[in-house]
Each structure stands twice: as C-alpha cells, then as structure tokens.
C-alpha cells in the first residue's frame, strides 16, 4: 500500500487552510495597500526558514451561528523561523479571516508560541492586524487578551518582544504591544486606540479620523507609543531586521558581535559643536562620529526629540546611546524625554547592553504644564533607571551640565563607571546667567550701571565655575579629554568594563516611579 493517498490528502487540507479568508478577502487586504499575514512573516524571516504550527486549529464559538462557520487557523498564523540564522518565534494575525478577530483558539495559538519563545529563550515578533475581540465569543475573547498580557509581562526583560502594528489594533488589543519592548508602525496602515472615532463621535460629538486619532504619526510623534515609524511595510521589515541585529537573543546573552569598523562621518568631531553654548547642533552627528561605520540606529526618532536614544556599535559591540539634543527645545529634560530615556536605559540594562551618555543639557523645562504633568515623578524615572542599571555606564559631557540635569544624566553620583568631559563642558549648579543674578544680586542692584555689572558678573561666574575643572578637581570627572580622543576613550572604557560585576541588594523588585 502506498502512502500517496494520505499525503495528497494532507497537501489538499494544507492548501485549503493556507488560503486564510479566501481570494475575495485577500483582494480586499491588497487593495488597502497591505500584505497578507503569510507574506509578512516571509518578508521578516530568513528565506524558507518559516515553520508553521496549529494550521488546522478551529474556533470553538457556539453562539450566534458561529458553529456553522469555518475560520482557517482561527485568524492567526504562528510559527518559528530564523533571522541571521538564529531562531525566533513569530505570529501574525490574519485580517482576511474574520477580520483577524481574537477568539479563544486564536489567543491559545498566540500564547502557545509565546510560551515556546520564553521557554526556548528566543525573541518573539507579533504582527498585529485585527479588528479586536470576537464579539460572538464574549468573555472568552477577553480571557484570551488577558492571557497574552500575562505572558508579555512574564517574558519582559527575558526575551526581546517586538510588536508590529500592520492594521487596526484597538481596544484591549493595544495593551499587548504596549507591554512589549518595541512597537513598529507604518503610515496609513497602523491604527491604535482604546476607543475609536465611532464611539468618540457618539459619546462626545467630536469628529476625528482614525489617522488623526491613532495613526502611525500620532503614536510616533505625540503619544510615544510607537518606537519605529515607516512609510511602507517593506521599510518596516528592514527596521525590524536592523533592530534584531543590535540586540541579544535573551537576557543571558550579549548582542551579536560584528567586525570593528572605523567611523565614516565626513566632519571632524571638533567641528560639530559651536563654541557658544547658546547655539544648537545635531547631537546625532557626535554619535555618528564615534560609532562604527557612523551607523546610528535611532529609536523613537520623532517623540520627545530633545533627547536622542538608539543603538550603535563601538569596536563591533552594541552600545545604547542616550544623548541630549540641543537642536530641539535646547536639549532640556522634561516629562517625555525623561520617560523615553528611562525606559531605554532599563532595556539596555536588562539585555546587557552598555550605555553611553552624551550630555549637553541646560536644565529642566520650566512651565506650569510641566510641573502639573508631573515632571517630578517622570524626571525621577531617569534617576531611577540610571542608578539601577548595572551594565557599563559611560558619560561624556560635551557642553552644558546644569543643576538637577547634571545629576540625572548618568553622573558619577548615580554610579557612572567613567565620566569624561570635553574642555567645553560647563558643569555647575545652574547656568551663569541665573547664577550671577542670585550670587551677585546685591552688587548688580547697587551698581551704577546694573546691566553692565550683570554682564561682568556673568562672565566672572562663567570663568570660575562654568567649566569642567571644578568638577574634575573633586574627582567627579575622571578626565577632561579632547574631542578627538572621545572614541578611543569609549573603546577603552568598554574594554575595561567587559566583565563588570555590580551587585545590588537582593529584592523582589524595586518600586520605580511609574
């Protein structure tokens, strides 16, 4: 007896199930400018590396005539494959099957692959494209979401979790991406919100489009929910592949090592920064000037642009850069920038990635809106994250380091391993203008020409305090270095701290201010 008949039967069944929602639904998906779930998985993983599980899973809905409906794979594809020849787990919701709606078995498939990823200590990538809970399955849908969130939290800081929003992601569904490490969105395709435009119109009478309410740009620029913004799905997949190249596969490993490459930034590091600290420049140029191949992979590029975060490599090893950006809001710290940097620092710490901090920061953003928005507790997140981090921590003070911001930006006092300053550094309790007004108030008020006296006193303060040498004389700065020495110092500091051990008191977990 030949097995042929069984094999042909299997092939026929597979083919049918792999059609998902069928030709008409796939046609609609394509008309929206979207790829199908299966195409997306293939585009992200190494060629021919995808292995699918649970293709034949069927839904268990019994109400509202659901028992008569066949939903192939129950609207989600799960499986394993490789990226850079390293194993990863992946799932993709299939919008062509009942709008990618989440029922009990759909959720079971997702939690199955999540459990697998956690057990095998490999990254998990989730592609979200779903209308939301499957209403017909009632509370079972809610249970499904809850079980996903629980696993997201358990896996947090153990394996990398990437969420790719390639369609609607509304209501409870948004919280799985929000719990993961990185969220990718695509212009015109991604939509995330808790309550949609329909409900908002009914309840409030406010009319707003999906794009304006929770489109890709809104989440990249205003809310800070998304980390990577792309104009097309293909660009998004390139971003995923690039990110994966910078991060380790789990929290006990280090990121893939690449051959050392010299920076290729066209401008000398000495010529990037204006000598007058009131004038801006792009801090990313400094990062590029010290990174291998001048390759800097920025995260949350559009949100809280007054601080820059992202990955680069130094001597072939991944480092996380945190840098104030004088080009936006003068590089001040505020609620959003503290929050952005703090979470990134915790990411680096969880995944054994050394942190390089570049500082040029005039202080905290003054204003009622900031104070009332809780700049105290948001700002505290940054202090907490730096103090808590036990990975190698290196700071280079480029220009301004004033007041509370000096402490917050990975100062020696928060446990920095190496603190360097350029000769242009201004390390003081506040800027010369403010300080002169307070310290020399009497002299200025009593002078014949107060404006002239003020100018003179500002200069006096500047000469005496707004430099790196006062801090260096106390040992708060390890060395004042020339700009051109920066990369070499970073390389050496990273070599020295390769086997850093820094143990903290045993505890269940801390209570960071979030």
């Amino acid at each position: 007896m030949s097995l042929k008949r069984n094999i042909l039967d299997l092939r026929r069944r597979k083919k049918e199930a792999q059609q998902g929602g069928g030709e008409a639904a796939i046609g609609k998906q394509v008309a929206m400018g979207k790829k199908t779930a299966r195409e997306r998985i293939k585009a992200i993983l190494d060629e021919n590396s995808f292995h699918e599980y649970d293709l034949f899973v069927e839904h268990t809905g019994k109400d509202f005539d659901m028992e008569k409906k066949v939903l192939h794979g129950d609207g989600v594809i799960i499986g394993t494959g490789t990226m850079y020849n390293q194993p990863v787990c992946i799932y993709a919701q299939d919008f062509t099957v009942a709008g990618g709606s989440l029922g009990l078995m759909h959720a079971r498939k997702i939690t199955k692959i999540m459990d697998h990823a956690l057990k095998m200590r490999v990254p998990i990538i989730g592609i979200n494209d779903s209308g939301g809970a499957r209403i017909q399955e009632g509370v079972n849908s809610l249970a499904g979401y809850g079980e996903i969130f629980y696993r997201n939290t358990a896996a947090s800081g153990v394996i990398p979790q990437l969420s790719v929003i390639l369609g609607p992601c509304a209501g409870g569904a948004v919280y799985s991406p929000a719990l993961t490490d990185f969220v990718f969105v695509v212009e015109n395709i991604s939509k995330m919100f808790i309550t949609g435009p329909g409900v908002i119109k009914t309840v409030l009478g406010e009319e707003i489009s999906m794009e304006e309410l929770g489109g890709a740009l809104v989440h990249s620029e205003i809310t800070g929910n998304a980390h990577f913004y792309a104009l097309s799905e293909d660009e998004c997949f390139e971003q995923i592949k690039k990110l994966i190249s910078f991060i380790p596969w789990n929290n006990t490993q280090k990121a893939l090592r690449f051959p050392t490459q010299a920076p290729s930034f066209p401008v000398s590091i000495e010529d990037i920064v204006p000598s007058d600290s009131h004038y801006p420049y792009d801090i990313r140029d400094i990062i590029k000037a010290v990174s291998d191949s001048s390759d800097f992979f920025e995260i949350m590029e559009l949100f809280a642009r007054n601080i820059v975060i992202g990955f680069g490599r130094i001597s072939g090893n991944t480092v996380g850069f945190v840098a104030n950006q004088p080009m936006y809001l003068a590089g001040v710290l505020d609620c959003d920038s503290s929050d952005k940097a703090a979470r990134f620092i915790r990411y680096c710490d969880a995944f054994n990635i050394p942190i390089v901090t570049l500082e040029d920061m005039p202080g905290y953003l003054p204003g009622v809106d900031q104070e009332h928005a809780g700049v105290i507790r948001h700002g505290a997140k940054l202090l907490y994250a730096y103090s808590e981090a036990t990975v190698p921590k290196i700071t280079v003070i480029i220009r301004k380091a004033y007041g509370g911001g000096y402490i917050a930006m990975n100062s020696r006092h928060l446990g920095a391993d190496f603190v360097y300053a350029w000769p242009t550094a201004e390390i003081a309790v506040m800027g010369p203008e403010g300080a002169a007004n307070i310290v020399f108030r009497k002299e200025i008020d009593e002078a014949e020409n107060p404006a002239e006296m003020r100018k003179q006193k500002i200069q006096e303060y500047k000469d005496k305090f707004a430099n790196p040498f006062v801090a260096a004389s106390k040992g708060y700065i390890d060395e004042v270095i020339e700009p051109l020495e920066t990369r070499a110092r970073l390389i050496h500091s990273l070599e020295i701290s390769e086997h850093k051990v820094d143990r903290r008191p045993t505890k269940k977990h801390g209570i960071p201010p979030f």
Partner: protein
C-alpha cells in the same frame, strides 16, 4: 544644503536664551488658566439629562444644578455656594465635552 537650514527659535531656559527648534507637542501645549469658581464645568464628557435652574435664579449652596450622564453613570452637580445663575449654557439632551463650561454663576454679595 543651504535651503535645508532649519529656522531656530529663541528658547529661554532659566534666564538663558538658546537657539533651537520646537517640537510639535511643545507647540500644542495649553496655557495654564487659573480655575474660576464661577464656572461650572463638566469633569468628563457626557450628556445633559436635566437642567434644574434658569438664568437670573437665586440658588442656595447644595441645590441641584444639572443632572448629566457620563460613562453610564448619572451625576448631579450641585451649587457650590449661595448665589445667582448668570447664564445657563447647555440644555437637556446636549452632549458636553470634558471641561466644557455649562453654567456661569455669580456669588451673592450681601
């Protein structure tokens, strides 16, 4: 490259002036306004079910002003102090936004 040169704005941080770009979110922020006790505002978005007062009416502290429904819950807003209704800006069935002024009051000067 010249035409791409960004337009820097003057931005003051603790008396020092810096040249920098502003972010969209920074430009979108609302200026803080002190709370005016004579304005009765909605706390969350909802629908007006009943208005108990008219303009010109004298009302004692604790009397009902408005019943409104928000998030499936009915709430009655009471007069915060004894005074006169200056203006009623909503009527039954109206949908109100968060923080919308619904009634203007005037404190009675005795």
């Amino acid at each position: 490259m010249e035409e791409n040169k960004p337009k820097y704005e003057v931005f003051v941080v603790n008396t020092a002036q810096y040249y920098t770009l502003l972010t969209k979110k920074h430009l979108m922020r609302k200026k803080w306004q002190p709370i005016d006790p004579n304005e009765v505002r909605s706390l969350i978005p909802g629908t007006i079910l009943e208005v108990y007062v008219k303009a010109g009416q004298e009302v004692a502290a604790g009397d009902k002003l408005i019943k409104y429904e928000a998030m499936k819950m009915q709430t009655i807003i009471e007069m915060p102090f004894t005074g006169v209704i200056k203006e009623v800006m909503v009527s039954e069935g109206d949908k109100v936004r968060k923080d919308q002024v619904m009634i203007l009051l005037e404190e009675e000067i005795i």
